[in-house]
Subunit: 510 residues, 2 copies
């Protein structure tokens, strides 16, 4: 079974129903199937072979959905590129994924051109102003219907060692996720899904597969703004969407929330970042007709491993306290807590969260060493630290990989530290997440300067912005007089550095 | 992902919840996992290797569910044998499937022993009186976790050419079916499923996989009797079950239906046989709190290809008339109508129903020629004849394979005709289905005798009963004076023979 199958099915069952909405643009399933097959034809005419990658710098637009399914239809592999990256990061992603064609949207032309100019290899391109002509002129392609362990997408994820890695997800991986989503969120042909979480992350980016599979409706929203979000839900009678806590916080602050008609919205799924209980309570109170569902996972898990169902979103009774968990294993997932020697631990014992099942990625792209380290005997080692309660609910207590989640984006401290160490006046540094009202966590650096008098925090932040994406750069820097506190083994004790910011209590992850 | 995965998950998430109920017998998931792993250990100690078959003559009992999952846990392949077969038919199934171990329940000892005695090969056995000791003594086995296209079961299906064929279903086939069932019927950990349709047919026999996957509760009922059926639903608070129309007819006639507490029953799924509209209307009226869902498919499709959702069970408004259809393609299924040359036909055009998708069997066991004939370019040719309406609903109009459905059992005319032709006084014969109040259709033979005076219908029926299962034998025989009506090509015109019984109108299939 291929990720494109649902397009054929929807085109047979309800060709005249709406497949895709993007502002004024509306396509029926019949039109969508036609455009996808023609764009696939255009890609094949430009030399795409089965298994070739096609990179795209795109927003949450109709063009992005058409890119998704045309590439798969043509037998290719998606590489949705993070549009928040620096040109240097995009260059790395392009050279690493080695696409046979590079695409972008007009709004991202500058980033695309800067990145392409930095590449030593010349890539073939299909620029945005040629796409409509290509669709009009191309003969519709036959769906190549790749399936099973055939590669469907590379989603790039932040690396602990400074470099982003391409996570290889197969058709079977993403179908396993879609079938679970279908059952857990009651997704079917009547579902109208608002795609507002970025499609270049698999959290938002796996949803188009589910919607296509059941023949629902894709509604696109390029940038999350509370006003347009609410207006789109009203206008298109959206039934389902996915948000990160940062979006929810902004939504709750919106003046128009009270008067918005959310009667169509049945379920709001969230994840990717810690959700404070106060925020969840406020959201549930302000949107009483909406069910909430939490997902936990990671790119390497296509991405969902556990869900906290709507019925556990309560603060009283026997199930009180479960909202602090990440929920329970989805159907098909084995979730285990293991110690440093790989031994499985019992209820309540804290260790690394490991997951096995059809959602575990095929591996890291051209990086067998990293794959072997991450997947042992079929178990994906998430790097997250947690425990299972006696009801099988997963509670996360820390992230072994020293990751900061800011506005739904994962930032690996080591990558930020690498950028800081390039600065001539940085003697020693440590990057941590600190509480932030808007972003959940903010990136903060603690630095020992070579010359404290000459240290200019703004200049150092600007220096970082030349090297890594804006959202990864420190928002603030503290200069530390003495050497940073270290363990006996010489490892910087970040827990000590975090204490002043988190009031000495352990950082809450969920 | 393996069909046993759900046992591990349920044992982790809710070890103390009820997994399995059979009369007074009750096992929690913890007990069930323990017994299954020990029975698997016992099978392995008796020589079971990965991919070996284990045959079982069993009713819908706890023993049957434990057989199911222990065999899979041990890496084996299920062969659930039809208990209504004659010893000769069971012998054929055993010799064809070539199991490394044969099991049976005490009630079926005579049939098992008769069949084994007829086999030229000696098979290893695990007799029912040794099972408890085997479970007690064996060390728990590690789950061999076969997966993907690894073979999980052989379900034997009636053959058009007289011999039953083993349908090879893989773990992936049955998981595809289970995931669809999960979404379509809202099956989850709270589901309490009554297994009353025979588990040796895949219609009933695929349900245990779904229930295990989500960690629901299996409730067993050996024989369908309206009184015990209703009493079990009441006692165990059953939420879901599957019936064939014959069962429904008997249920509606039951005195106790009016007073039965069906408040727990959410959904009743049906299929496998024509459902007359009057019967459906009566059932919906007498069980107003129950949703109805129709499934259509065949053993070779694991088994479901289309479903008619509860919302289309209406007789007024825009969707009136859809109850006469078999519903629409499930997620992941391509359904097409093709003509004799394999060309895909348009809406309303009548041709053979073909299905493609992850539910299509791996093939027929040790019968590549039949597999090649049945599956062409991935499309399973069902032998059923029908059309798709403009909304993609499948309407069946006839069965190309000349099959009779009686009480939920498929009977192939050719097999019955072969038995009749062995009788010395049968010159020519044709077997057809005729309307029957209780069984939907009854098997009827039209015979031209060599000597009409000496023809004894009862004796000929008894003669058939020596050769084929009782349910396949003619219930009645008409003796025809002249030669049977034939087409120009010399094919017997069964439509002519059916006319007197069906009032000249076309036989309704759904």
């Amino acid at each position: 079974m291929s990720l494109t199958q649902g397009i054929h099915r929807a085109n047979q069952l309800w060709p005249e129903r709406t497949a895709l909405v993007d502002g004024e643009l509306r396509y029926t399933w019949k039109q969508h199937a036609d455009r996808v097959s023609r764009l696939a034809g255009a890609l094949i005419e430009r030399g795409l072979s089965s298994g070739d990658r096609v990179a795209m710098l795109g927003q949450n637009s109709a063009a992005m959905i058409e890119y998704y399914f045309a590439v798969l239809w043509a037998g290719g592999v998606l590489v949705p590129v993070n549009t928040r990256w620096s040109a240097e990061e995009v260059r790395y992603c392009l050279e690493d994924s080695d696409p046979s064609i590079v695409m972008w949207e007009p709004e991202l032309a500058e980033l695309a051109q800067d990145s392409l100019a930095r590449c030593t290899k010349r890539f073939a391109t299909l620029p945005p102003n040629e796409v409509e002509a290509a669709i009009a002129e191309a003969a519709p392609a036959q769906d190549r219907r790749r399936t099973g362990s055939d590669l469907a997408a590379l989603f790039y994820t932040g690396g602990t060692t400074g470099r982003s890695k391409g996570v290889m997800l197969s058709h079977a991986n993403l179908i396993a996720n879609a079938m679970n989503a279908m059952a857990n969120m009651k997704i079917n042909g009547d579902t109208v899904h608002l795609h507002t979480s970025p499609l270049f992350h698999v959290a938002g980016g796996s949803r188009p597969f589910t919607i296509a599979l059941v023949g629902g409706t894709h509604v696109m929203l390029r940038n999350f703004e509370p006003e347009s979000f609410l207006a789109t839900i009203e206008r298109e009678r959206v039934t389902l969407t996915i948000v990160v806590p940062t979006m929810l916080r902004r939504l709750l602050a919106a003046r128009t929330l009270e008067s918005a008609d959310l009667s169509s919205l049945q379920l709001l799924s969230y994840g990717a970042s810690p959700m404070p209980e106060a925020l969840l309570r406020a959201a549930m109170q302000k949107m009483p007709g909406v069910a909430f569902l939490q997902s936990y996972g990671m790119t390497e898990l296509s991405p969902v491993a556990t869900v906290l169902e709507p019925r556990f979103h309560v603060f009283d009774g026997a199930d009180a306290g479960k909202t602090a968990s990440a929920g329970r294993a989805v159907v098909g997932a084995d979730v285990a807590i293991v110690d440093a020697d790989g031994r499985h631990l019992g209820c309540g014992e804290v260790g690394e969260v490991c997951v096995r099942g059809p959602m575990v990625m095929e591996g890291y792209w051209r990086n067998e060493a990293a794959t072997r380290e991450a997947i042992v005997d079929g178990w994906m080692h998430t790097g997250d630290v947690g425990y299972l309660d006696e009801d099988g609910f997963l509670f996360l207590v820390d992230r072994a990989k020293d990751m900061i989640v800011t506005g739904g984006e994962n930032v690996y401290s080591s990558e930020v530290e690498s950028a800081l160490y390039e600065h001539p006046n940085v003697h020693e540094c440590a990057v941590i997440g600190i509480p932030d009202e808007q972003w959940g966590e903010a990136v903060h650096a603690v630095v020992v300067a070579k010359s404290a008098e000459q240290f200019d925090a703004d200049e150092v932040i600007a220096f970082c912005q030349q090297r890594i994406a804006r959202y990864k750069c420190p928002k603030s820097i503290t200069v530390h007089d003495a050497e940073l506190p270290k363990s006996g083994a010489g490892k910087i004790l970040k827990t000590e550095l975090r204490k002043p910011f988190w009031g000495g209590s352990q950082r809450s992850i969920n």
